[in-house]
């Protein structure tokens, strides 16, 4: 373990943009982004050099700075939907009640997740310190102490996590000290998470912060190897990984959502760590690799035939089941071939568009292309030029371009619906695949139905290709509804804006904002 890039001594982890140079605003082709990312070089050396402050040849990812922006998620919300979904631990939102206003949405996801994983279904239990104006003036640490005590008395959790909000960060709440003090008093881990929403320019830093807290304070320091256990860093998806990995004799340990304290603690005892999405899983996999010697799977993600083959082979190598795996791969190819051929015929001529988190999109596009569909464009909500591991074979965007060809219109944009009209106008598409809210309703009014990929494991593995193909036939039929909408509803943007062909025009020509738009808006005719 010579190389250690992840520092578990600190309670906070560095922002993703500083650590690995992540960007949120870019437009071009996928192959151009592969070249600009320079994954191999970044993977070898200092990874953090992005436009955020570095210099030299690794500072090539220039962003498009738009003056207009629309609401997005934040890192604090991500921590809520990660740490808040541990079954026997409690998360405390240390902030005003508004920071907890989405708990019912998280509850829905949590309950679905519990159903999918066959665990007892019950309500989510995230606490709020529910801060008021006087707490902003006099400090809120006593509120936090009270809420920690309430959580402890009511549910006797195995651990308590504390999430920082914008307001508590600005007033300088010392959650580390309160955590230390209550940990000593209550005798359970109390984990501070520095996830205030303004901190990172992208919410995915919230994944890293969650994982940092778990690896730092929950994972066992004296692991006893479990040779049949494999970690899968996941979200709420259906348990398809057990089916996929059973032939290799492996048991799946899902993290973090719906996991228990013990399931998280045993992460250091696993034989390997893999994930359905390197954007999500890389920090944790790398931390476990560097600090506990648990190797991570150096392969692309298991989407499409070739990548699934490569992923299984990489796991087989670690567990020493290479020959069995070759036989298994062969059988699987033969098993899905007839239905895949039928689906390719049924889906012939259709085009799709993918709008999801970064490396997950790379996987989804692979699956669509595997099904013979056209994909002329995609939006990823951010882009990591390299993952924390820096491992060569995890370069998912390069793998997509090398295996399935270029994606001519590849956009990095953080759920900005106002850009979507121009973006969709430059591609042919019969449907969109989405995660996160806000974009699909705009596509819907343009006559385009959406496949909301709420079960993120759906496209995984060989059967995932078949599942996606089959559901797309259902989704495309919904176009009838979208055509009704398109005939009778309008988007909420000015004609001037909708006439712009470049979704990033204002980054390139900000002076356009000083020119009149010749239509009445906001009560004024701007002529």
């Amino acid at each position: 373990m010579a190389k250690r890039t992840i520092n578990l001594d600190m309670t906070a982890c560095d922002n993703r943009e500083m650590r690995i140079g992540s960007i949120t605003s870019w437009d071009g082709s996928a192959s151009e982004l592969v070249a600009a990312s320079n994954y191999e070089e970044r993977g070898k050396g200092e990874k953090k050099k992005g436009c955020a402050g570095g210099k030299g040849k690794l500072c090539q990812l220039c962003e498009l700075h738009m003056p207009f922006s629309q609401q997005t998620m934040c890192a604090n919300a991500i921590v809520g939907c990660q740490i808040g979904n541990i079954t026997d631990c409690i998360l405390i939102d240390h902030g005003p009640i508004g920071c907890s206003a989405n708990h019912a949405r998280f509850n829905l996801g949590y309950k679905m997740g519990l159903i999918r994983r066959g665990k007892p279904v019950e309500n989510l239990r995230i606490f709020s310190t529910n801060l008021k104006e006087q707490d902003m003036v006099f400090g809120a640490s006593d509120r936090l102490r009270q809420t920690i005590q309430d959580a402890f008395d009511r549910y006797h959790p195995r651990a308590i996590f504390i999430s920082m909000s914008c307001s508590t960060a600005i007033i300088g709440e010392d959650i580390d000290s309160v955590a230390d003090e209550k940990e000593a008093e209550l005798g359970i881990p109390i984990v501070p998470l520095h996830c205030e929403g303004f901190r990172s320019k992208h919410w995915s830093t919230g994944f890293d912060i969650s994982q940092h807290g778990v690896v730092r304070q929950i994972v066992k320091r004296d692991p006893v190897k479990q040779p049949d256990l494999i970690n899968i860093v996941a979200l709420w998806g259906t348990d398809y990984f057990t089916d996929i990995l059973k032939p290799l004799g492996l048991r799946v340990n899902y993290m973090i959502d719906m996991a228990s304290y013990d399931e998280l603690a045993q992460a250091s005892e696993a034989v390997a760590t893999a994930t359905f999405c390197h954007t999500l899983g890389s920090y944790m996999a790398t931390a476990l690799e560097e600090h506990f010697g648990v190797p991570q799977i150096d392969a692309p993600q298991p989407y499409g035939i070739a990548a699934t083959d490569a992923w299984l082979r990489a796991i087989a190598k670690i567990v020493g089941k290479e020959q069995e795996t070759e036989d298994y791969i062969q059988r699987e190819h033969e098993r899905i071939a007839p239905r895949l051929a039928e689906l390719r015929e049924e889906l012939k001529g259709l085009n799709g568009f993918v709008m999801t988190g970064s490396s997950y999109a790379h996987g989804l596009i692979s699956v669509l292309r595997e099904l013979g569909l056209g994909v002329e464009g995609s939006i990823v909500f951010h882009h990591d030029p390299v993952y924390d591991s820096g491992h060569e074979h995890q370069n998912t965007l390069k793998y997509l371009v090398d295996s399935y060809g270029d994606v001519p219109h590849f956009t990095v944009s953080k759920t900005q619906p106002f850009q979507l009209y121009a973006i969709l106008n430059r591609v042919k598409t019969d449907f969109v695949i989405i995660r996160h809210n806000g974009l699909a309703p705009v596509a819907a009014k343009l006559g385009i139905p959406a496949l909301a990929m709420g079960d993120e494991h759906f496209p995984v593995g060989y059967d995932g290709i078949i599942r996606v193909g089959e559901i797309l036939l259902d989704i495309v039929a919904r176009k009838k509804f979208n055509q009704v909408l398109a005939r009778h509803t309008e988007l909420g943007y000015t004609n001037w804006w909708l006439s712009q062909e470049d979704p990033f025009i204002l980054a390139r020509k900000p002076e356009l904002l000083d020119e009149p738009i010749y239509e009445e808006n906001g009560g004024r005719y701007d002529g």
Binding site: Q70, N76, C99, T129, D150, W203, T415, P441
Partner: protein, 446 residues
């Protein structure tokens, strides 16, 4: 029952924070909220008020479309005014709208940005734009609603010198998006008030004419507040500003008797000719009792058990309205009424008094609780007798309802097992829909 101790802690929240009033703006046709806050703030509000509240959707300028500064570290350190200025400037070019409202959240207020001076520059250029201080620590989205409405009145509607229209009234009833059925209920209130001879500024939702209706607010002869407490502050403000009187009816009317009484009270206050209202009431009553008579067969002779004792958990407006109707008109027995919207301390006695006069011989004491843990504990300890417990509440009550083998009807946020488009549970027609839904839940699940 164990003593219920409410600390600052809240589990299972039933409201958003003040900046949730972005949805008050979004409910005005042509209204565009501009969120001057962190990246996740209004996304979270979306779920409390719409996405996890009947899946109401968000129209064209809210949800994912809502302009937002998305405060970053840079703004916290160096101030957010510059970024806000760029956002407003571009929003006025990009987002179609008649009225833009800048809502400042915790970060902007804590670092002390001068939002007023940024906004005033655009106002001077002739844009309809106002600003409101809606930091989350100032209170919940109901306080935010009142702050934003007052800001629009003061900064946009402005002064008024002119004659009032005798039959025109401003309606301040349910809070847009927060009250799950606000659209259907507003439509029903408008329908019945028009039926009684009024013109109504509903101000929010598809029946509103948008900002032209807001500009007509001072022309109304009075403000009609139909809510236990939310909106009374707005009416008082309008009274001070325009010398406009207000009529406060604390209980939303449900069922023929309450709705007809409601209309008579409004007509009486307005001093208009009651003839039109009486004719309308007669027609509505005829239709209502036609349906009730047919429903009565089921109610009288359904062999397989009906719920009797019920609990209501939710905001003051819906809680008292449903409790009153079911106690007074259906003969169900209220056993636990929990008010969850944190009404001001000084309003609580008058709200509680409404429960002391539910119907002849029936009274109850409501509890004011906001912490879901305590709410669910209180329900668990409630004695519902031998029948099937009926809980009118939110999605959070699902687990305790299952434990009690009860029926849960989601009537307030969060409601993640209801898809709500234009349903109403109030007035003449809504009362029948409410009966349909309670008893459909009762006969279902076999």
């Amino acid at each position: 029952m164990a003593e219920l101790k409410q600390t600052n802690t809240i589990v299972h929240p039933r409201y958003g924070c003040a900046i949730g009033a972005a949805y008050t703006v979004a409910a005005i046709p042509g209204g565009v909220p501009i969120a001057n806050c962190g990246p996740g703030c209004v996304d979270k509000q979306y779920f409390a008020l719409s996405g996890s509240n009947g899946f109401q959707g968000s129209g064209v300028a809210a949800g994912g479309d809502m302009p937002s500064v998305n405060f970053g570290e840079n703004e916290v350190v160096f101030g957010g005014a510059k970024k806000l200025d760029g956002l407003i400037k571009s929003a006025l070019k990009i987002v179609k709208g008649d009225l833009f409202v800048v809502l400042t959240g915790c970060s902007g207020e804590l670092i002390g940005d001068n939002v007023e001076s940024v906004v005033k520059a655009y106002k001077k250029q002739g844009y309809n734009i106002v600003f409101a201080d809606t930091a989350g620590f100032k209170g919940n989205n109901l306080r935010g609603h009142e702050i934003v409405v007052k800001a629009i009145i003061d900064q946009f509607v402005g002064d008024f010198k002119g004659r009032r229209r005798r039959t025109l009234i401003n309606l301040w009833a349910e809070v847009p998006y927060f009250n799950t059925f606000w659209r259907g209920d507003t439509a029903e209130l408008k329908r019945i008030l028009e039926g009684a001879g009024f013109e109504v500024n509903v101000l929010f939702g598809p029946q509103s004419a948008g900002i032209s209706e807001w500009q007509r607010i001072p022309r109304a002869s009075f403000n009609l507040v139909v809510s236990p407490w939310v909106g009374v502050g707005i009416a008082k403000h309008l009274e001070e500003k325009y010398g406009q009187p207000y009529l406060h009816i604390p209980v939303l009317p449900i069922g023929e008797e309450a709705t007809s009484a409601f209309l008579r009270k409004v007509v009486d206050f307005a001093g208009i000719d009651p003839q039109k209202a009486e004719r309308f009431i007669q027609t509505e009553a005829h239709e209502y009792y036609y349906y009730l008579e047919h429903f009565a067969d089921f109610f009288a002779e359904y062999w397989f058990g009906l719920p009797s004792r019920f609990a209501a958990v939710g905001d003051s407006a819906y809680n008292i309205a449903l409790t009153k109707f079911l106690s007074d008109q259906v003969g169900l027995i209220p056993v636990k009424q929990i008010i969850t919207d944190n009404p001001p301390e000084k309003k609580r006695d008058s709200i509680a008094a409404l429960y002391h006069d539910l119907t002849q011989g029936v009274e109850t004491d409501p509890v004011f609780l906001e912490d879901g843990y305590l709410i669910e504990q209180a329900l668990e300890e409630t004695d519902f007798g031998s029948g099937v417990p009926l809980i009118l509440g939110s999605s959070w009550e699902k687990d305790v309802a299952a434990k009690k083998k009860g029926l849960l009807l989601e009537v307030g946020t969060p409601a993640t097992e209801e898809v709500v488009i234009n349903r109403s549970y109030i007035g003449y027609r809504g009362a029948l829909t409410l009966l349909e839904n309670i008893y459909t839940a009762t006969v279902g699940g076999k």
